[in-house]
């Protein structure tokens, strides 16, 4: 068990390291020239050269990479080309906003996803189930930003129920959190529904039914519990969707956050900032994945047994 955990942690670290390298190669090695990007399209060759030496781009790529890794290990993500602030400071000041957005959205996703999934399975094959499934299909086919735009149109512009601009209360957060939450709830909904329907046809359910257990208790206690285990492992997929969605939603609603920071940094050609923000998000993603793996071993006795047997 402990050995397995250690192996998993080691694998996660190597994946993060790989992601760092991949991003470094994409941003520093691809044909696009950062110096030209920073100096502007119509800067003189001399000026481009000056920028190049200033940010240390003239050196061989291997040397740059070594320095980059070394500073990363010291916890230094570099300095913004634009504001001259350390990238890590900017990211940590923006992180709470992103965290509260994604946490709120996960809550919404769990409530909506599990709730509707249960309803859908309970009325399996009936019109309510078909309605929910159709809505789910429509939702995965809608671009997230358009959903956001429509929700602003309906709830703010037409109905006037919810403000969009920040006024210090939590009301302006309702739409972004709700949009992101509903958006990421679809995979959860489908998994819970299919899992429940699958579980209900398993022999142990038949046994319980034969022993005279009430249909309600059977459904909500025994079947739901089994159907929720795969839902936990889905969290790792969910977190990726959440991060991607946060970039869009933060930009759309002009909220603070790491996602918007990254998008704005692209606009101002601020490479260290883009790199830092993406790295931050990827590390978070890998970390959550690791936690999910550990959590599954903790809640599902079968995986423990398998680990012992192996």
């Amino acid at each position: 068990m402990m050995r397995q955990l250690l192996a998993r942690v080691f694998a996660s670290i190597s994946v993060v390291f790989g992601a760092v390298t991949l991003l470094f190669l994409i941003l520093n090695w691809l044909p696009g020239d950062p110096a030209t990007l920073i100096a502007g399209q119509d800067a003189s060759a001399e000026m481009i050269e000056r920028v190049r030496t200033q940010i240390g781009l003239g050196r061989p790529i291997g040397e740059q990479y070594r320095d980059y890794i070394a500073s990363l290990l010291r916890g230094d993500l570099g300095t913004s080309y634009v504001t001259r602030e350390p990238v890590l400071d900017r990211i940590s000041s923006q992180f709470p906003a992103t965290l509260s957005l994604t946490l709120g959205a996960s809550l919404v996703a769990v409530v909506v996803g599990v709730g509707l999934g249960v309803v859908s399975a309970r009325y399996h094959g009936r019109w309510l189930d078909q309605l929910i499934q159709s809505a789910a299909l429509a939702l995965v086919s809608v671009p997230a930003f358009w959903l956001g735009i429509l929700s602003i149109l309906v709830f703010s512009v037409w109905l006037g129920w919810l403000p969009v601009l920040d006024d210090g209360t939590f009301w302006p957060s309702v739409l972004p959190v709700g949009c992101l939450g509903v958006f990421v709830s679809v995979p959860l909904l489908r998994l819970v529904r299919d899992g429940l329907i699958g579980t209900l046809s398993e022999p142990f359910v038949m046994t319980l039914r034969a022993k005279g257990l009430g249909e309600r208790r059977l459904f909500f206690v025994h079947a739901l519990r089994n159907a929720l285990i795969p839902a936990v492992s889905l969290l790792s997929v969910l977190i990726g969707d959440l991060l991607a969605g946060a970039v869009i939603i933060e930009t759309l609603f002009a909220r603070q956050g790491v996602g918007r920071l990254a998008v704005e940094a692209i606009g101002s050609k601020d490479l260290p900032m883009v790199q830092g923000a993406i790295l931050f998000a990827s590390t978070g993603y890998v970390l959550v994945n690791l936690l999910v793996d550990v959590a599954i071993v903790a809640i599902d006795p079968r995986t423990r047994a398998r680990a012992r047997g192996a």
């Binding site: 991949l22 696009g32 358009w146 429509l150 991607a244 998008v263 692209i266 883009v274």
Partner: protein, 361 residues
């Protein structure tokens, strides 16, 4: 969902395991299933009208319950067909728009009607006009080209690369497999849209960058699924036989492994078109897509967003077109999946334990 019910009925009817679809089996002459398929085929017309006379005609000692199931089956089938047909029609319409937009659109997409700026839907401008007085309907029609172009090319590139990686990893196994899968893990650790952002930053926004960014994000999905299939097929007798008779690895991959993996790849690719279109529109929205004069739904939405309070039609219809296209493509992909990949069902009964997939697990 609908078809799943149908398969249940089929299984109950003739003890068909959840295997390849009935029609596909029946194409093999003399197979165990052909007799059963012929019988079902004979019954097929009687299912359609499902009258009392028809059920009396049936070769089975049909009880009332059985007849009811058949009627339900016939009704459900038609619903599924209606959905499928409308998806086909929608996709065909968008392809028409992409190929010859001038046949469909009433105006040129760049034509500015000075007297129509920000006017709502009317007889002249069916879906209204935007902030420049451009006809929204014409813009939507012309925008189809960009979305389909990006969607299809991104899938071709991503599918090609992903399938190759997956096949090679699964077929050779060992350290090649280990290396490839680690690479895919890393690839997946950077969330899709952030990877696309990094690529767009490095290469600058252009049509090529968008296609590359979207396709790169989709590679791991193809690679993972195809690796699993290749892994399952590589130990089969016919592969060993080919190897023993001196066929090269490349020939085996192309001639024996690939044909066995083509169905899931095809399904993933179809579903991937919808995803690619969505992601490309998201990139456009973030300002990372193509932002030249070519009409593009994502960019159109971004521009119209500023006029949200005064012109709902300019933000509603391009998004609606985008959604309609993606839903249709997804429905087609779903139908294809049911047809080609019966084992992939969430709960369509357990496949026999001897399927390659089981052995790989």
């Amino acid at each position: 969902m609908i078809e799943r019910g149908l398969d249940r009925v089929r299984e109950g009817d003739g003890a068909l395991p959840a295997g390849v679809s009935l029609e596909a089996r029946a194409t093999r002459p003399g197979s165990v299933w052909s007799g059963l398929a012929r019988r079902l085929e004979r019954e097929a017309p009687s299912l359609d009208d499902a009258g009392p006379a028809a059920s009396a005609d049936s070769s089975q000692p049909g009880s009332n319950g059985e007849a009811a199931v058949r009627r339900a089956r016939a009704r459900r089938l038609s619903l599924a067909q209606v959905l499928l047909l409308s998806s086909f029609a929608a996709v065909a319409f968008f392809i028409l728009c992409a190929l010859v937009p001038e046949w469909v659109a009433p105006y040129a997409p760049t034509l500015m009607h000075g007297d129509a700026v920000l006017t709502g839907p009317s007889a002249e401008h069916w879906l209204g006009a935007d902030q420049f007085g451009r006809d929204v309907f014409s813009l939507v029609v012309y925008g189809a080209r960009q979305s389909l172009l990006v969607g299809v090319s991104a899938v071709l590139v991503g599918c090609g690369v992903g399938v190759s990686i997956g096949l090679v990893a699964g077929y050779f196994g060992g350290w090649v497999d280990l290396l490839a899968m680690r690479l895919i893990d890393i690839w997946m650790a950077v969330p899709n849209i952030l990877l696309a952002i990094a690529l767009s930053t490095a290469l600058g926004p252009s049509l090529g960058t968008t296609i590359l960014a979207v396709s790169v994000a989709s590679v791991p999905r193809y690679a993972r699924v195809l690796r699993g299939r290749a892994l399952a097929v590589r130990g089969q007798m016919f592969v060993l036989a080919a190897r023993a008779s001196g066929a090269s690895h490349l020939a085996i991959l192309r001639g024996h492994i690939l044909p066995h993996c083509i169905a899931p790849a095809l399904v993933l690719a179809t579903l991937g078109v919808g995803n690619a279109i969505l992601m490309a529109s998201g990139l456009s929205f973030l300002g990372l897509g193509v932002n030249d004069d070519r009409p593009d739904w994502g960019y159109q939405l971004t521009q119209a967003r500023a006029y949200l309070t005064v012109a709902w039609w300019a933000v509603t219809f391009p998004g609606l077109a985008l959604t309609a296209l993606v839903i249709s493509v997804n429905l087609l992909g779903d139908a294809l999946r049911r047809r080609l990949d019966p084992h992939g069902r969430a709960h369509g009964g357990n496949p026999p334990a001897t399927t390659p997939r089981e052995r790989a697990a």
